[in-house]
Structures are given as structure tokens and as C-alpha cells.
Symmetry: C2
Subunit: 181 residues, 2 copies
């Protein structure tokens, strides 16, 4: 069981955090202390927002918290429902705007295959993520995809195309589900 330290085991809510388990790419699929995982990412995002001057307002923070509740992607309307229950506005733009902000800041990612959004597990780190979407448990992990992105850039360069943004998404079975079924 990797990375199963309890909540109080060690506390690090700063941006300089470097607990080995926290950055493990397969953390999403592995059994782990997700409360810690989420709190850590949230704290890092907050710190980054402060540093960059981006305004982490209550709605925006709440949306990020909601996304961080699990390693699954959520549709905007699901997020909206949660927001409404918390007393925030209950019209689509409320959710879409907060999500847009988070994506712009690099605190969340849009998963186009699912028309959904997931919290970024590596805020602040340069990363061209590939998303691994388990079709069985719906969990989404960010795989380090520098090599993938490099291959894509190369394939594009081959025909003179310059890549600006990319979506790399894979649907399949995560380790846990592969064993189970």
C-alpha cells in the first residue's frame, strides 16, 4: 500500500511540499490518503494564486474543493448542483466561469472526451499531461506525458505544423479494475 500515511503523519500545506507519495503519477489509481492528497493540492493552488495575484474567490475555491473530492472528472452541471446546495448561484454560468478560471490558472483540466473537468494534481509544475480515464471506475489520472507531447510535437513538425495546445486522452482500464475484471 503505497503512500498511506495518516493525516497527521506529517503536515505540509506549503508550496514547497515534496512528500514523495504526493507527486506519484499513479496516485489516483492507487490506494492513498486522499484527504491529504486533496488538501495538499488545494494548498498549493492557493499559494500559487497568491503568488500570481489571481483571485481565489469563495466560489472558485469551492469548485476546486469539489473537484478535489475524488479523482473523477465532473460535468459542469454536477459542480453547479453542488454549488447551489452550498448557497451559491445555481445558473450554469456560475459553474462555467469558475471552471474556466481554474483551467486558465492551471488548477483544473478539461477532459474533452467526458465533457467534464478534473482538478489538476500538479498545479504549478510544468506538465503536458495525458489523461488516463478508467472506463470501469471512472477515475482519471494525469500521467507524465512529456515524452508523448514530444512525440506529438515531432509528428507535427514533420508536416510543418506548430502545436500550441494539445489534448491527449486515453480510455482504458486502470490497474485495479484490470485485476477485478
Amino acid at each position: 500500500m503505497p503512500h498511506d500515511h495518516a493525516k497527521g503523519d506529517h503536515s505540509h500545506a506549503s508550496a514547497g511540499d515534496d512528500c514523495p507519495g504526493c507527486a506519484t503519477p499513479d496516485l489516483a489509481f492507487a490506494s492513498h490518503d486522499h484527504a491529504h492528497c486533496a488538501a495538499d493540492v488545494l494548498a498549493r493552488a492557493e499559494a500559487l494564486a497568491v503568488a500570481s495575484g489571481a483571485r481565489m474567490t469563495p466560489v472558485r475555491r469551492r469548485v476546486l474543493e469539489i473537484l478535489l473530492e475524488s479523482h473523477k472528472a465532473m460535468g459542469a452541471y454536477d459542480v453547479l448542483q453542488r454549488l447551489a446546495a452550498d448557497g451559491f448561484g445555481n445558473q450554469p454560468p456560475v459553474a462555467y466561469r469558475a471552471l474556466e478560471f481554474l483551467v486558465e490558472q492551471g488548477f483544473a483540466h478539461r477532459i474533452r472526451r467526458l465533457n467534464a473537468f478534473a482538478a489538476c494534481m500538479h498545479p504549478g509544475e510544468v506538465h503536458a499531461p495525458a489523461f488516463l480515464i478508467c472506463k470501469s471506475c471512472d477515475m482519471v489520472a494525469e500521467a507524465p506525458a512529456a515524452a508523448v507531447r514530444a512525440a506529438l510535437d515531432a509528428a507535427a513538425a514533420e508536416v510543418g505544423f506548430v502545436v500550441e495546445r494539445s489534448n491527449i486522452e486515453a480510455l482504458g482500464l486502470c490497474p485495479a479494475c484490470r485485476v477485478g475484471a
Copy 2:
């Protein structure tokens, strides 16, 4: 000007076609005889359908023809409008079903970033395409992405994830637009 032979230059509507220019990956972005390009792909798709027993009905054929009119991706409703103008049904399922068929047969691809569909330029060939979407001219090219897919599989395997299907899409500038702007 690569691949600019006129329509009558040489005729090859068979599946065994191997005109060098026809399979060039960057054909979409290069100046080329698109009538030939489209006719060739259509003929190859037809042949494959016959071979596999898939039924290329009038609506389905027409949808493929429509997609083949340019190297851009089209939304289902755009396709539908064209179908209706041709006397086919004008309700969404008509377009969506034909598009679904074409995607299943490998005669078209779904571009998730655009919520749109594009004709496959390499029907019958095994290919895990990466889509290069020019944000300036809206053209979409299929880049050979075996290496990209391999890198993705490797990144996934690293965490024990097995990839079944993938979307690899890049937004950027095509060679022509990069020069212009």
C-alpha cells in the same frame, strides 16, 4: 507545389491505389487536387464497405461525400443541414446515425475538441491518428502518430494502465497560416 496532378492525370479508384501524393500526411495543409483526393478516399471506403459487408447506403455515402468536401471538420448539425437540402431527413438522428456508422467503419473520425467529425483520409490503413487542427484556417490533418501512441501506451503502462482507445488532438498553426500570420 506537391501533388498537383490534374484529375485525368492518372485514374485509380481502387483500394489498391498507391499514388505517392495520396497518402502524404500533410496533404491536408498542402495545395493539392482535392477533388482527386476526395474521390480517391471515397472509392477506397466504398471498396472496404463492400469487402466487409457494411452497407454504404445513400445517406451514409452522402455524409461521407459531404465530409470529404474539405479538410475541415463538420458539426453534426452542419451535416444535417446539407442532408436536408438534398432531400434526406432533417432530424438530428439522421445525421448522428450516419456519422456513427462512418466512425465505426473507420471512414470518419470524431474530433472531440471541436465537437465535430472529419472524414478519415486513410480508410483501411491501420493508423492511430493524431489530429492537427489549425486554429487559423480550421483545417484538420491526420498525422501519423504511431510513435505518439507508443509513447502514450508506455506512459500508461508505467502506472499499470491499459489503453484501449485514445484521442490525440493538437491545436496550433498549419504551415500555410504560420507564414501568413
